[in-house]
Amino acid sequence: MFNAKIWKLGDDIDTDIILPTEYLAFETVNEMKPYAFSPLRPDLASKIQPGDMIVAGHNFGCGSSREQAPEVVKALGVSCIVAKSYARIFFRNAINNGLLLIEQPDLYDEVQEGDMAQVEPGKEIIVNGKSYEIANLPDNLMEILEAGGLVKAMRKRNGLD
């Protein structure tokens, strides 16, 4: 269980918003961090604190297969994203990088930016005293998430770690 401050974005947050093309060639994800979400909210990356969460509407992460998108969100220290739905490539990429994604249909419409949430993965999110039910991911994805990403899960499975 953890507590997180909410940053609220809209529907169809695409990968060019999460990280614009011109920053993809940067060698490290740390260099990319200040530019996350910059076409939409240039100051957001500097405001997000480790442990904060992002709440969004439908189709989060639509667009490109660029893995720098979930990587940069993870690097900002975002604890989880709660959205109504995710685009599928982003969904896989996020899990593969150990970034927790939660699907929840109602939360987005009822919370405000700055609200505090109490998250119990696989069970519920509580905001302003109201509980929002959340489901567990399938076992194969939980294994990847818990290991911290696909490469780490692969190493663990092969007895390398």
Binding site: E22, E27, G63, S64, I89
Partner: protein, 415 residues
Amino acid sequence: MGMTMAEKIIAAAAGVESCKAGDIETVTIDRLMSNDGTTHLTIDMYNNLKNPRIADVNKLVWIIDHNIPADSPKTAASHKKMRDFAKEHGITFYEGEGVCHQVMMEKHVRPGELIFGADSHTCAYGALGAFGTGVGCTDYLYGMVTGTSWLLVPETIRFNLHGKLKKGVYARDLILTIIGRISANGANYKAMEFAGEGLHELSIADRISICNLCVEAGAKTALMEVDDVAMDYLTTHGREPKALYKSDEDAVFSEVFDIDLSEIEPIVAKPHFVDNVVPAKECEGVKIDEAFLGSCNNGRIEDLRVGAQVIKGKHVADKVRFLVVPASREVYKQALEEGLLDIFMEAGAMVMNPNCSVCWGACQGVIGEGETLISTGTRNFKGRAGHKDSFVYLASAATVTASAVRGCISTAEEV
């Protein structure tokens, strides 16, 4: 119960007799394509593995297309990393050959294959009856090292196409119409399958254009049955199918749409979403600064012929840049032979080498603050083509070229 084309390809790749939407299968991947968008990241991860190995090097195809020729020392270093690794490990490697999906269609994709591409528009391969799906570089690495991956078997939305497109209406108009109808996540996690007698009327170029854009509706893959037109294309390019599949009569589809091709009109997708579509007429007069004819969606010889016909004997409007980017070396040479490039250059267009160009907002032709681009590219997201406060409209080769001539959005009829 019958199976869909997607279910059949996944079942074959998983070595099981049957599977159904919702199952999770472990599949053996037939081919793995990666480009210079993320391959450098794959290589870094590969080098950090304890016992790195490649399951089957013959399945890998690496293509430098997004930023070629290199536009900065950083890009050059990233290309060198990719080039050196490919040569060292004997990976099939192209640079300067064309946009990755066009090169894959010309040289590698076979019907019935399950293909991973580290690029979202990999769904284009359905035009030849292959299950192409976009993945990130970690999934790519896993496939490269183990030869396998896991897939959630998708539900299929079926589109039955009837009749023929009217003169002056193109596959791009059709797929934008469909995306507008089902929305940018209308096919999320699903396969989009196209069938019906109207499909047989469409060229391979049309089919690639349709399948390629299905990811803009969220689709996991796009699929089309292989017919004589597709077999001719394969034969011409010296390849044979791996296997031919079509959906059973009693296959289960999540939705079925019947589309009369003769009802489709020229369409434009307005900023900043691909499903924000309106009839092209409604955008007439919107002033443009740049026009782009190219990309994995519309940079084929058929598109260049359409553009050349519109612009022949005319000139690009004052203060407008018109970029023409053939999708591959094969297309470039053919266009040269047919005199199309002469027509474009005499009209004042810039003819560039095959690459992804401004479609992905890097490499060349990026637009500045407040500028407007009309493009045959794949996306019109905010900031996609350059400055965060710029505007991208998507349209067919005909509409884009007509707009380049008039300096504002126009259909080809008016030029």
